[in-house]
Amino acid sequence: MKKIFLIAALTGAVFTASAKDINFGLEATYAPYEFYDDNNILVGFDIDIANKICQELNYTCKFTNQSFDSLIPSLKTRRIDASISALDMTPERREQVDFSQSYYTNMAQFIGLSGHLESLNSISELNQKRVGVQNGTTLQKYLVDKFPKINIVSYDSYQYAVLDLKANRIDAILIDSAAASEWFKKEPSLVGIGEKITDPEYIGSGLGIAVRKGNSVLLDQFNQVLTKMKADGSYDQIYAKWFN
């Protein structure tokens, strides 16, 4: 009898503990924000930020790896509680979800193959050329809206775009500048071309953590912790770890 009570009590404890989980959705092919390292462990700037938030709030972080364009739908259908996946806070996304305060200001950059396309004075030089981007990203929308003469090639993930760049199927890739510098480390044949790009309507509005619309409890908690992290230096530590 005692054993049964013990089991019942323990299961109860387990379930109450799991109620304090936060399930973060992300797409883990985007170094240095979120990616699997050589030991197949999920690491990155976003992961460290999320873990720090969970630690401060006494929650357990869970991460769900899924395709990028399914992140916001999963959030809306309550499959995940929040999404931290280098999400630009664009007006279209703000209509669908609520964002925390910005935790990183990003830029974008074109990359090319050394020996082929190495310099770029203006983006219009890429007209009629083939440029790879990830399908469903703000960078894709930026190219479609602003540079309709560029031949845009859409990929599921940047890994495949880099494969095609090396095979000369495309001439350049438009990618987040921090992600670009990770690729330069991994692939010495890649070079950055042209200036880094910001455009307040598309790129550089900052990255935010997305939560379901109306979930102000979680949003306030995120904002409080982010403010605290920026004040006490723990944010700078994480920043220095991934971006220097």
């Binding site: 739908p73 809306k76 469903g136 990203t137 894709q140 495949y160 095609d164 090396k166 095979a167 199927r169």
Partner: protein, 249 residues
């Protein structure tokens, strides 16, 4: 909701040329290849049957997505290695200049073809569908009663002549299961957006990345159901016409 639906539809329609051209090209070439293969399968020589059996096992046993990726990204890997280590080519050239030149030119043209994602998708769809269709046609050919063959030989026909009589009969009987395969090819084209082709599914993902709206998927589904509905009506009419001799009885 409804005005947005038509807005999405107007964007998704941009993907129709690729979806339809891939489906038609894939269906037609797969049909021709599989008729050839199922005739070859009747022969009793092992060196003809075994390679075809292996081909069928490979292409029916692996997912279409895997085949697409292997055909699109696979040769690209070799291209890179070929350029970086030209030693192999130099040795080959030293021993046999003419053949080396021909092989090199051939690989060059093959590579140019494989650079087009449309061609890669077409190749994958054709090979995949040919494997399935061969099974269907070969099954129908086997199901023709032995008496037909015997009747042909009683009339003094040789194997080729009897085949000319029996094959059209068998193909007509296979039409109803073949119409299923035709629809599978159309639905298979939805996977080609993974190798950068902007078909209906590609535009679906593009719109979904911008608006995150459930309606987009409904619109996409409507387009596919329209194409497939039309196709199955055509196939049913075709079947009715082809099997008219049976229905009259």
């Amino acid at each position: 909701m409804s005005d947005k639906f038509f807005y999405y539809l107007s964007h998704l329609i941009n993907g129709l040329p690729i979806t339809i051209s891939l489906s038609l090209a894939g269906i037609l070439s797969a049909c021709i290849i599989s008729i050839g293969l199922s005739i070859l399968l009747i022969s009793k020589r092992w060196y003809i049957i075994h390679p075809i059996r292996i081909f069928i096992t490979v292409f029916t046993g692996t997912p279409l997505l895997v085949q697409l990726f292997l055909i699109y990204y696979g040769p690209a890997q070799f291209q890179v290695t070929r350029e970086s280590s030209s030693l192999l080519w130099q040795v080959f050239y030293y021993y046999n200049p003419t053949q080396c030149y021909i092989l090199r030119e051939f690989l060059h043209y093959l590579w140019q073809l494989l650079s087009y994602p449309w061609f890669c998708a077409y190749l994958a769809l054709t090979l995949n569908s040919a494997a399935y269709t061969t099974l269907i046609f070969h099954g129908a050919l086997k199901a023709v009663p032995q008496g037909h063959w015997q009747a042909c030989s009683a009339l003094g026909m040789n194997r080729t002549q009897s085949l000319k009589v029996i094959l059209p009969y068998a193909l007509k009987r296979a039409l109803s299961s073949y119409s299923n395969e035709v629809i599978f090819v159309v639905k298979g084209t939805a996977l080609t957006s993974t190798i950068t082709l902007m078909d209906v599914m590609g535009y679906n993902q593009f719109l979904n990345g911008q608006y995150y709206d459930f309606t987009i998927f409904i619109a996409t589904g409507c387009i596919y159901i329209l194409i497939n509905g039309l196709l199955s009506i055509i196939m049913r009419l075709l079947e009715k016409k082809a099997l008219a001799f049976e229905n009259n009885q």
